[in-house]
Amino acid sequence: MRLWPFGVVIISAAVAAALLAPWLAPYPPGEQNLTAINQAPSVEHWFGTDPLGRDVLSRMMYALRTDLALVVPAAGIPLLLGGLIGGAAAYVGGIFDTGVRWALDVFQGMPAYVLLVALVAVLGNGASSLLIAFTLMGWIVYARIARTEVRRVREDNYVLAAYLSGTPRMLVFFRHVIPNSRAQLMAYFVTDMGMALQIIAGLSFFGLGVSQETPELGAMIADARLYIQTNLWLGLFPGVALVLLGLSMASIGDAMRERRR
């Protein structure tokens, strides 16, 4: 079944909601209305209100801002770093490639999730620790994909033609090799953003993500924990949003990967 068109719709809606939150959100994200706490969804509050009387929909729109702004670099920096290392290794070859291949084999065996928690624990909460941890753990897969793809492309006739016409090696790399080995990397990038979203939300749920005051989907679910028995909506909406976003990114990533086969 083709899910990716739904994915594109959901992601577009999420990006629009995040970008336009200051204009679209019905209430300011921190505005408390103590006369209307823990409400079920209604016409005034589409997704209900939390124990402080804050509008859940508005908070979720701002939470999307936080999450999407983190997810793009959390997958994007490893993409650039890993892509460059793996791509350069395959292009240059020789001892450099052997070294990188050996390093990848060793690094790939490392327990990424546990080290991610440890790194965030040591570096402290906040966006920069999350990004450092994701970069250190995430570049490996990208480097592996880039290495495979560049090895495939580097023997192609148009690359050979570029050499023979006297184009410098560096220029061939950036003008011909990279554009033609990009597809699989981009497919994994989209999938990876979905995984990063789940992990960032999970870390924030446990108090290891961004600071407590910032609206964030995982942190919203954590806040809902104490009240969820009386107000299930509180945990339901942010959770469903996480599932839908993860599903969308995964299905788009899958579709991109298969299209190139």
């Binding site: 079944m1 899910l3 084999d105 060793v106 690094f107 065996g109 490392m110 327990p111 990424a112 999730y113 546990v114 080290l115 928690v117 440890a118 790194l119 965030v120 624990a121 040591v122 570096l123 402290g124 979905g194 789940q198 939300a201 999970g202 749920f205 446990f206 108090g207 290891l208 995982g218 679910i221 924990r225 969820i228 028995q229 299930l232 945990g235 339901l236 959770g239 996480l242 599932v243 993860g246 599903l247 995964a250 299905s251």
Partner: protein
């Protein structure tokens, strides 16, 4: 030595550099501690003398190779430092909390197989029909459900609304232990089962179409004997590999559900220590959990080599 034993040994030899890198990484964690690392490790309430003691014991004044050597010596002797909150030795904490994590891990793997394998067969045998298509769409959705959220929702529905199972902490006794494990295992199992189901469906699909099954059928093999000798034997290795490769995320799932269900395991210890900046505990648990994942991955590969004589590693 037989070929398979050689393969197994070679795979185990590949583990050594990975373990060494893990040791180096865990050792290096203290280098990225913000501020004075000795003070962070000793904890916020430590006296000047205690900070000095930590600095001396962990060799912060010594050159890095010397410090790493003494770190290695401590680790090999099972000395993983002392918690700065509870002053409990980390090794003791690990021994105390490992049973919960082991129970969840074993229970979760069992649940994953019990849900995943039949589901995979169903998908493979009914490939292309509407119900199998719908089921695979649901599976893709389930993969994207965060374990912590699923755990929370299950605890509300099954635990609080129906009041059937405990939602937090360990109940006393053996039955209580098992009852406390059901929801956590189900949470991890539900999230992990789609991976297994997909892998089983793919390999069964390939096997059903293969020549040896046609031959076996023409020789009047059918039912259980076809299943056991031809299908299961060939479908199992890729599933075991997948499960071993998923060990990391399964273990992370266990980490997550322990905290959601307030169970005293290694994962909740890691998250508590992380939240309270208890550095020695973070370091010790990262080392032990990390090494466990690395070894499980290797064990999975070795198991595949035993199950499938065609295995080759390059």
């Amino acid at each position: 030595m037989s070929g398979r034993a050689q393969l197994a040994l070679r795979r185990l030899a590949q583990v050594l550099p990975v373990l060494l890198l893990l040791l180096l990484t865990v050792f290096a964690l203290r280098a990225i501690l913000p501020g004075d690392p000795a003070r962070s490790i000793a904890g916020p309430r430590a006296t000047e003398a205690q900070v000095e003691e930590v600095r001396d014991r962990l060799g912060f004044d010594e050159p890095l190779p010397v410090a790493f050597a003494s770190f290695l010596e401590d680790v090999t002797q099972g000395q993983l430092g002392v918690s700065n909150r509870t002053h409990q030795p980390v090794a003791e904490l690990i021994v105390q909390r490992a049973p919960v994590t082991l129970s969840i891990a074993i229970g979760a793997v069992a649940t994953t197989f019990l849900i995943g394998i039949p589901l995979g067969w169903y998908l493979a045998l009914r490939r292309g029909r509407a119900d199998a298509d719908a089921a695979s769409a649901v599976l893709i959705a389930v993969v994207n459900v965060p374990a912590f959220w699923l755990g929370l929702m299950l605890s509300i529905l099954v635990g609080l609304r129906w009041g059937v199972l405990p939602v937090g902490g360990l109940e006393p006794g053996v039955t209580g232990w098992i009852r406390s494990m059901i929801l956590p295992c189900l949470t991890v199992g539900l999230v992990a089962a789609p991976w297994v189901a997909r892998s089983v469906a793919t390999s069964i699909g390939g096997i059903l179409a293969s020549d040896f099954v046609t031959t076996a059928r023409s020789l009047r093999f059918s039912g259980w004997s076809l299943f056991l000798h031809h299908l299961l034997r060939n479908a199992l290795p890729p599933t075991v590999t997948l499960l071993a490769l998923q060990a990391g995320s399964l273990l992370f799932g266990a980490v997550v559900v322990e905290q959601v269900f307030a169970l005293p395991g290694l994962g909740s210890a890691l998250l508590e220590a992380a939240a309270s900046r208890d550095f020695a505990v973070v370091q010790g648990l990262t080392l032990v959990l990390g090494a466990a994942i690395i070894l499980v991955n290797a064990a999975g590969d070795v198991a595949v080599a035993v199950l499938d004589p065609r295995t080759r590693w390059d």
